[in-house]
């Protein structure tokens, strides 16, 4: 059902946990739908993501999507990270079953939501997030 890469990230998720006093925190999903992702970012003066952690409630692919997304943005600048697409997450995972694609969407949105939080707190504008509204990311149990 799942690729080797998905199972590897599910079994040994990278960057699990929280960051105290994080520079940006993003949370998407809700318990009703069966998945919630929360991403914490530590961003330095040069706008580089120094550290990233996640907490996820959800199925195997939700955990794997969060794990790989954190790997993909760690060490990147916020301007690069904002370009992380769900498609890139799916590709990096070696594919996801069709009913699980929404997990990759959640991962993309969790990253965006955390970056938006950072931008708001620091009065910054991140290209690609000018018109971002966190409430648009409310997923209504779409699979």
């Amino acid at each position: 059902m799942y690729s080797e890469i998905v199972m590897d990230h599910f079994r040994n998720p990278r960057n699990v946990g929280r960051i105290e006093n994080a520079d940006g925190v993003g949370q998407v999903g809700n318990p009703k739908c069966g998945d919630i992702m929360k991403i914490y970012l530590k961003i330095n003066k040069d706008e580089i993501i120094e550290d990233v952690k996640f907490e996820t409630f959800g199925c195997g692919s939700a955990i794997a999507s969060s794990s790989i997304a954190t790997e993909m943005i760690k060490g990147k600048s916020i301007h690069e990270a904002v370009g992380l697409s769900n498609k890139a997450v799916v590709e990096a995972l070696g594919g996801l079953p069709p009913v699980k694609i929404h997990c990759s969407v959640l991962a993309e949105q969790a990253v965006k939501s955390a970056l938006y939080d950072y931008a708001q707190k620091n009065n910054k504008v991140i290209k690609g997030l000018e018109n971002y509204k966190p409430e648009d990311d409310e997923i209504h149990c779409q699979h």
Binding site: C33, D35, I36, T56
Partner: protein
């Protein structure tokens, strides 16, 4: 990890060795068509079917003429509902009473019949999954033709007050169908004592083969045929009989009836050990289903703040097969309709796991399962955002 523990016996069971041995000769030695009565090979097949029919009939205190073989529990459920509906439509009867926690073989058949003008009342259940007899009585109309209630629920194991429902049905002259697929073989069922008119049974839940089921139809019940064709099953269910499967079904029932009470007692003790083990070792859990009125082999828990599919994947890595009512495991949008009907919130329903035991399971297996679950739940909760968030917990 070499350990293999199959704890999904409500999904299906291993075919028993004795059953397989009995079936084998009907593939390549006694392969005659039971309708070919003019030579011995055909007669032997027919005799084998009748022997199995007698075993089933004796087991539920019915007459042999009241037992029909079908392709499985789903076909039996379809036959009961559609057969009764089509036979009673033009008699001014169009109302069926069933429950919100039936198997989809019942619920989707009711939905289908509604397109033809059938009206269905879906009874609520309490937090344990029990139907309310008062609500049942209030739901009865002059047009009610059928009450269909499952004997025991496949997900949470709750056993319904079948005898009381049978009495109510009889008092009102309404047909009573029981989907006994999960209960059959683990509980003693007397169709006369319980006033059951129609009953669905299946072989593969009790060590028999897949693809074979049974239907009890009380003599004189007004019900149409469902599968049309040849004159098999006394003209009521067409299609060349799956003789080897019927033989296997008969054998499985024979074995089940041998030591039913001792087996139930042993399984109940194992079940309680698992329930207590989980309750005492893992915080924030909810036992789904009734604490005592439940199938001897069924355990169903919700583990708060974690999701069922993740648990199943980790269990599989430790060699344990179980199942979940989480939406993520079914490909549908909502978690189990059964759990939601018992009043569980979505989040908690997503974290449900069902373990269904078999005779092969030992106390050591149960303890291993508890220990494994303890580690898995701790691991998943360590990465759950809900665990430490009071706002999310309220959702």
């Amino acid at each position: 990890m070499s350990k293999k523990l199959y704890l999904d016996n409500a999904a299906t069971t291993r075919v028993k060795r004795e059953v397989l041995d009995e079936m084998r000769q009907y593939f390549d030695e006694l392969y005659g068509n039971p309708s070919s009565q003019l030579y011995e090979l055909g007669r032997k097949s027919k005799q084998a079917i009748e022997k199995a029919r007698k075993t089933l009939a004796d087991f539920i205190n019915a007459d042999e003429k009241e037992i029909y073989f079908t392709a499985g529990g789903t076909e039996s459920d379809n036959w009961a509902l559609k057969g009764v509906a089509f036979a009673n439509f033009n008699k001014g009867k169009n109302h069926i009473i069933t429950t919100k926690i039936e198997h989809h073989a019942i619920l989707h058949t009711c939905e289908y019949l509604e397109k033809f003008g059938v009206e269905t009342t879906y009874l609520d259940v309490d937090r344990y999954g029990l139907v309310d007899l008062e609500q049942l009585k209030e739901s009865i109309r002059p047009e009610t033709m059928l009450i269909s209630v499952m004997y025991a629920n496949n997900e949470i194991g709750t056993i319904q007050p079948i005898e009381e429902i049978g009495k109510i049905a009889k008092e009102h002259g309404i047909l009573f169908h029981v989907d006994a697929v999960q209960a059959f073989g683990s509980i003693r069922i007397d169709v006369n004592k319980l006033n059951i008119d129609l009953m669905s049974m299946s072989a593969h839940k009790l060590g028999g083969p897949k693809g074979i089921g049974g239907m009890y139809i009380r003599k004189g019940t007004r019900i149409d045929n469902f599968i049309h064709g040849g004159g098999q099953e006394r003209g009521r269910r067409a299609g060349t009989e799956g003789v080897q499967n019927i033989v296997g079904f008969g054998k499985a029932v024979e074995i089940a009836s041998r030591n039913l009470d001792e087996r139930a007692e042993r399984l109940t003790a194992l079940r309680n050990r698992l329930v207590e083990g989980i309750k005492n070792n893992i915080p924030d859990v909810v036992l789904n289903g009734h604490p005592t009125r439940r199938l001897p082999n069924n355990v169903n828990f919700s583990f708060k703040y974690v999701e069922g599919e993740s648990i199943l994947l980790l269990l599989d890595m430790e060699g344990i097969s179980a199942s979940s009512g989480s939406a993520c495991t079914s490909g549908s949008l909502d978690p189990s309709h059964v759990l939601l009907a018992t009043g569980l919130d979505h989040g908690t329903a997503h974290g449900s796991i069902r373990f269904t035991l078999s005779e092969e399971i030992t106390e050591e297996d149960i303890d291993y399962t508890v220990e494994t679950m303890k580690n898995i739940i701790a691991k998943l909760r360590a990465m759950s955002p809900i665990k430490n968030d009071e706002d999310l917990k309220k959702n």
